[in-house]
């Protein structure tokens, strides 16, 4: 296994990505109708085909197909854009079009407009077949060739692998065999993969070997849909476009940081995927560590992909695990109980879960970042299923004022100042600070000041997948994690998983509660408490 941060590979990647952007730049410079001052013209992708593997999956129906329609409705799809579905179904084009139509009607964010649908419908094709069927992929290659002829898509293909990772090797091998992964001069081929990017460092590395055997790193787009969310991108605006927060964004003022992703649902129909994976691999490795990187990184020299990824990698490399994993991590498994007024079963009683499963559905870990800015500031990460409420947030909790010129009674219920970035739902930012309670006595109590995306930029915020799909077609990679980030995240998580594997059954917690007692005890040892969400 090679070191994911090997300098030679890095140099090569930077060179290829630079080459990639320069061709785009040249095209823009050559276009007399484009002008950087012309801010009304949207970023529109060039002519291309999106090939979707796994069209019958939940993700395709709920997110991908509606997002493609929404892009069309916003005028962001290029003329001639074509969508090719590939699946093990005995279908014709119109069957796939019907599926797309239904998915759009049910889940699109923008209103249904006949002319947009007509434009999209003309480019919809379907190729039936199994992944190990050479004939089916030959048919796919021929279909794509024909689409280039009839729709003018110029040999630009994006392959979206919305399939379980076990199928990656065979699909990638087929793309390689049919030559679909090789871009002829003047065109591009890109591959989009979804999490999970492996289940530990080793498997992530193997998975990457498979994809890089056919596609260069600069053509691989790893989707972490959290990074497409407006609030997550706003973390960077909040930190680096303002002068108000950066001076206090360090160990001199910050007491600790809590990053939470709580879900109120159980595992639903995902038993096959979830059992054996668990909350930490499912959520902490990707979403929460990416959030941590964005909150804790230094300012990048620019917002292009290489500068941004470099800063994220630096901070991920600086992450240190606590010496005693037993005292500074917690894991749990939900028990039967009441969640939001409904009686629900425990994890071990879910369909398809063995009654002896040791998979955790709740995970909390404490991390430290060994650099000048953050030394000594703990970052607490927690995620869980069947918790009280669905909420994802990053809370930066500040130290208490060094001196309070009030009597102890007056500030008895005054907490820490906090800045909370609410990622979902109800996206926005909350600042918590002390304020005088009206009246003749001097009593100070916590109040919240709110910024809600819903109020200030009501309908403009696009769905995360829209943004990410557009970025794939434009070839703009800053919002996609690099393989090095993926491997660094596994390096953080692997020792914890290994430790947990020796600990037997996770502690049970009642559905609808806020997690196991050991998680609260872990905070209490540090003299802190979890935010009540």
């Amino acid at each position: 296994m090679t070191d994911p941060a090997a300098p030679a590979e890095e140099a090569a990647t930077v060179a290829t990505s630079a080459a990639g952007t320069s061709t785009t730049m040249e095209v823009l410079a050559a276009n007399p109708l484009r002008d950087p001052r012309d801010k009304r013209l949207p970023r529109v992708a060039g002519p291309c085909v999106m090939v979707l593997f796994g069209v019958t999956g939940d993700l395709a129906k709920r997110k991908l197909l509606p997002a493609i329609y929404d892009l069309g409705n916003r005028g962001l799809l290029p003329p001639g854009f074509s969508l090719v579905g590939f699946a093990r179904r005995d279908w014709k084009d119109q069957d796939f079009a019907q599926l797309t139509h239904d998915a759009v009607k049910a889940h699109a964010r923008t209103p249904f407009r006949e002319e947009v649908w007509k434009q999209l419908r003309e480019g919809i094709h379907f190729v039936p077949g199994e992944f190990n069927d050479d004939g089916a992929f030959d048919a796919l290659a021929m279909a794509l060739n024909e689409i280039d002829e009839t729709r003018g898509t110029g040999g630009n293909y994006a392959f979206y692998l919305s399939v379980p990772p076990k199928f990656f090797p065979v699909v990638v091998e087929q793309l390689k065999r049919t030559g679909l992964s090789d871009a002829p001069e003047g065109s591009w081929r890109r591959v989009v993969i979804e999490k999970p990017f492996g289940h530990d460092l080793r498997s992530a590395h193997e998975l990457n070997e498979i994809t890089t055997s056919a596609f260069p790193e600069s053509s691989i787009f790893r989707i972490d849909h959290y990074l497409g969310k407006e609030t997550v991108q706003n973390i960077m605006a909040l930190r680096f476009a303002n002068n108000l927060y950066e001076p206090i964004w360090n160990r001199s003022f910050v007491d600790h940081v809590q990053i939470t992703m709580a879900e109120d649902i159980g595992i639903g129909g995902r038993a096959g995927y979830y059992d054996g994976i668990g909350a930490a691999r499912d959520v902490i490795q990707n979403h929460l560590l990416q959030l941590l990187a964005l909150v804790a990184m230094e300012d990048p020299t620019s917002f292009d992909a290489s500068a941004l990824r470099r800063e994220k990698e630096k901070v991920l490399k600086a992450v240190r695990l606590p010496a005693d994993l037993g005292l500074n991590t917690a894991r749990g498994q939900y028990l039967a109980g009441w969640q939001g007024g409904e009686k629900v079963v425990g994890y071990l009683q879910e369909d398809g879960i063995s009654s002896a499963s040791t998979t955790e559905t709740y995970a909390a870990i404490k991390l430290e970042i060994a650099n000048r800015r953050w030394a000594g500031v703990p970052f607490y990460l927690r995620t869980g299923k069947r918790l009280g409420r669905r909420v994802t947030e990053v809370a930066v909790v500040f130290q208490r004022a060094p001196h309070l010129p009030f009597s102890a009674d007056d500030t008895e219920i005054l907490g820490h100042n906090a800045l909370v970035i609410r990622v979902q739902p109800d996206e926005g930012i909350t600042v918590r600070f002390g304020s005088k309670v009206p009246g003749t006595a001097m009593e100070v109590r916590d109040v919240s000041m709110d910024f809600a995306y819903g109020e200030s930029f009501l309908e403009s915020s696009p769905e995360a997948y829209e943004r990410l799909l557009l970025d794939v077609m434009i070839g703009d990679p800053p919002l996609f994690p690099h393989q090095r980030e993926v491997e660094l995240s596994w390096k953080i998580l692997d020792p914890i998983e290994e430790f947990w594997a020796t600990q037997g059954q996770p502690e049970g917690y009642e559905s609808g509660s806020w997690g196991p007692e050991s998680a609260d005890a872990m905070m209490a040892r540090d003299g802190r408490v979890w935010r009540r969400l």
């Binding site: 002008d35 009304r40 529109v44 002319e115």
Partner: protein, 304 residues
């Protein structure tokens, strides 16, 4: 929604009433990002206000509608306050009578939200030099609409160009964005030198000469304007060395893009509502230099 009428009032009483209504509803004025002043005639009021409230769903605003009524009546200010469900922000419709008609800024200015941008929109007739107008001078962004005039829409663009100041724009320019976006996308693949071209639209449509000017300036080729049956813009045809690149739209919804050596393709290109145009204008509040270049190029070449 709460509506509140104030007759023979002042700006101070309107402000106080707003605060009172907000406290009553328990909703403070948070999250409003700008003040939109709409200066129009009574007959335009309903449509303009409707478009503005819809645009405010994307850009929560305080909307101030200024209607100048008869100037030979005794001085009076009537106000209609709306706050609540259909509007994320606040709306006040001001009706000015008598001598006050010439001093509308004295009413508007105290009602602007503090420390946030101000945008003025004239859905119909607008002052010759918007930035020198007493209300226009309060704003960062001044939006006129050449198409909103009963006649002389194209001629008014020449006036706009002469009186241009940074921050001026016209909705007939915003109407072109989907067309310009599609044309720019078509030029992302090299097409070679354009020799000449023609923009066709319904007669007297102010967007057509603007589009022709923009194309002519960017492409360095003569672009004519011709009349068609409409509705709105119907086609752009550019002759190239190897054939013709064209975008045609006859049903106001779906366009056909044709270029030499490639199959024709259908592209959705629907005409947009005023509210969408306004929302686009409010998205960026810095001055639009590309519009400036296009409208000035038009004024230089106009031979009306």
């Amino acid at each position: 929604m709460t509506t509140f009428m104030l007759s023979d009032t002042t700006a101070g009483r309107i402000s106080a009433q707003f605060m009172h209504l907000r406290h009553q509803m328990g909703a403070p004025a948070i999250g409003m990002v700008l003040t939109l002043v709409v200066v129009c005639e009574e007959r335009h009021q309903y449509d303009a206000l409707r478009a503005a409230t819809e645009a405010a769903r994307e850009h929560p605003s305080r909307i101030i509608v200024v209607i100048k009524r008869e100037d030979d009546e005794p001085i009076r200010l009537d106000a209609e306050l709306r706050i609540g469900e259909s509007t994320p922000g606040e709306v006040v419709v001001l009706r000015l009578y008598g001598e006050l008609v010439d001093h509308a800024d004295s009413v508007v200015s105290p009602l602007l939200l503090p420390d946030t941008p101000v945008v003025v929109w004239w859905p119909g007739a607008a002052p010759e030099v918007p930035s020198k107008d007493s209300i226009g001078a309060l704003a960062q962004r001044r939006i006129t609409d050449a198409k909103g005039l009963d006649e002389g829409g194209i001629q008014s663009l020449v006036t706009r160009a002469k009186g241009y100041a940074r921050g001026d724009t016209d909705l007939s320019w915003a109407r072109l964005t989907p067309w310009r976006s599609l044309l720019a996308a078509a030029f992302d693949q090299p097409v070679g030198q354009v020799r000449e071209g023609v923009v066709e639209s319904s007669k007297g449509h102010p967007s057509a000469p603007l589009l022709a000017s923009w194309l002519s300036e960017r492409l360095g080729a003569p672009i004519e304007v011709a009349d068609s049956a409409g509705p709105g813009l119907t086609s752009v045809r550019l002759s190239l060395d190897g054939g013709e690149l064209s975008i045609c739209r006859t049903d106001a919804r779906l366009a056909t893009l044709s270029r030499p050596g490639q199959p024709d393709r259908n592209v959705a290109l629907a005409r947009r509502h005023t509210s969408e145009l306004l929302a686009e204008e409010l998205r960026r509040l810095d001055s639009d230099e590309v519009y400036e270049a296009a409208v000035k190029h038009f004024a230089r070449t106009y031979k009306g």
